[in-house]
Symmetry: C3
Subunit: 244 residues, 3 copies
């Protein structure tokens, strides 16, 4: 599938957070896609309408961004291009929780991707354990399935084991590197790559699983070449241009 992405060079419109813009853009370029970042209300419908996919990421969200995301998302829905929603820190404030719910209510989102805590907050599922990072994968599977049913879409719950759930079914994937947790925006970049794969593969679960596995295998190779989180992030970008 990576060849199909490289051939198509999909234009992925991001309305994303300021921390990760550069890393997401460079990761998409390395993978073979073409990023555009635009969050001015006056132009987002134009930009989304010319794009092949749309990524909505609520890290560093401002209140005016919600309306902008919905405007871009409506243009994307009208054109029939996929929307990937990344509910970064959805449980961290009432503001974020309300924003992300408004987005899921008003838009037809193709894939929602987040860690267990974020997906639980978005789908209003009480977490059984407090420390989100250490929850059992059993809980994550339950969260993925329930969120997928509630939101009626494909849900990816990331963690040591990644879970892709839709229509009552789920698949797991356990590639990856612990260094991913030490690079800001590593999860956001996965969302970007999922969006890119959705533009070349109609079978949604296949596209999502490919992106999850390609990315995590690239991370494994990068870990082998690195001396810490700094060189790991650099090597990860190098590896995204490789083959699965």
């Amino acid at each position: 599938m990576e060849e199909r992405v490289r051939e198509k060079r999909p234009l992925v419109h991001h309305i994303t957070n300021e921390v990760v813009m550069n890393f997401s853009a460079n990761g998409l370029l390395a993978f073979g896609g073409s990023p555009v970042m635009a969050k001015e209300r006056e132009e987002v419908a134009d930009i989304a309408g010319a794009a092949d996919a749309l990524v909505l990421n609520i890290g560093t969200l401002r209140s005016s961004d919600v309306e902008t995301m919905i405007a871009a998302g409506k243009a994307a829905n009208e054109k029939g291009i996929p929307i990937l929603l990344d509910p970064v820190g959805a449980g961290a404030s009432t503001f974020r929780k309300n924003a992300v719910r408004k987005i899921t209510e008003e838009l037809d989102v193709a894939v929602v991707k987040g860690n267990a805590g974020e997906i639980a907050a978005l789908a209003d599922i009480p977490l059984k354990v407090k420390g989100v990072d250490s929850e059992e994968s059993g809980d994550s599977t339950d969260i993925a399935l329930r969120a997928s049913e509630k939101l009626n879409t494909c849900v990816v719950v990331t963690g040591a084991i990644d879970i892709v759930a839709e229509n009552g079914n789920y698949t797991t994937s356990s590639y990856g590197s612990p260094l991913l947790t030490q690079v800001t925006g590593s999860g956001c970049l996965l969302g970007t790559l999922i969006a890119a794969c959705l533009t070349v593969e109609d079978e949604k679960e296949k596209a999502v699983l490919f992106a999850v596995e390609f990315y995590n295998k690239a991370a494994e190779r990068a870990e082998a070449n690195s001396h810490g989180p700094g060189s790991f992030a650099v090597s990860l970008l190098d590896e995204l241009g490789g083959d699965v």
Copy 2:
């Protein structure tokens, strides 16, 4: 010329896009200049008035930024310091096209730098081919010359072959690396380096051509040391501190 830049350490005020701020700042520091990024309306005239050059880059432009850029630009024009305009994605929306035209109408811009599509959009030149990245260099030369005449300033059209046009004349340069297209903000950083060179060399075309060649030769050296776009970007920063 690089020694003159390192001796002067020119302060370059950027009103630029959020994706590339970090890379532009680090690239200018590596080259020997000093970056300042400021886009608050209340302070931009102070900052531009203390700077040696001003870079205006419309990637991730917001509507309120246009007035801010013009305020900074008027302070720059009054002080007589050069303005470099980078019309990122000028053809991507009516909003950007209008913004960049307003900027060129109200300010005296020393150099405009962009790819063929951006310069064509800015100067209202219909593109002969649709795929901007694959146009013949003949078209790019024509675009550079016509835009330079229309805007009455120095125009740089970047691509596999870079073209510098002013007063009906043009020069080409063909150094560089294909990896530059895989690093977000690589074009923006060239704009920053051009601005730095303009602060130490009155002959505008000489300053611009030096920056274009120095940067692209550094990219060639960086490519030789790299394993992909991640390590290339790191090596490019390393090489900017070297000699031509």
Copy 3:
């Protein structure tokens, strides 16, 4: 102390500048902390109230950010978590000078960190020499002591020699690498690490000195592994996961 940080994984809320967000976040992750970046007025009190420390950094400040910083700071003060203030470019405009003063008047700031020029501007101390980067360390000590007295808090003045002053006393530290001056946000990242150390050590001066020395020794190791400012910044992130 680095082990205590890694065990606690302190959540450090940043309201910081757009140029350095990514580097600060990655540096804190490498060091063992957990970053959150949020500057929406509607959520900052929630975020700061859940955090272990708050970093306020005025680079790329917008006028609406001042009120936001004060709201977050009041939540931090109420909860008793430390605030680190980084008055980036405080002397560069009247806007920044006024903003940073308002912040110090309204909030109880644990540590103020900046270069001699920034601290002098904040504390309204006339600089004896014009070139801030080349001032005698004697002047920096004087600036640190006077600012500490005036602001009634711990003050760190960074430079070739770093000075930590509080209650009429000061300590100096002279580790580091000249390459730090070629990486944007290297000073901002030090502020972030100081904030992380304040969350595990009540003796303020001890926490601050540890962060200053740990960071600068990591920079010395990184310099040994690097070929220029690009690879230095990468290696610095790698080294932050090491031991003192």
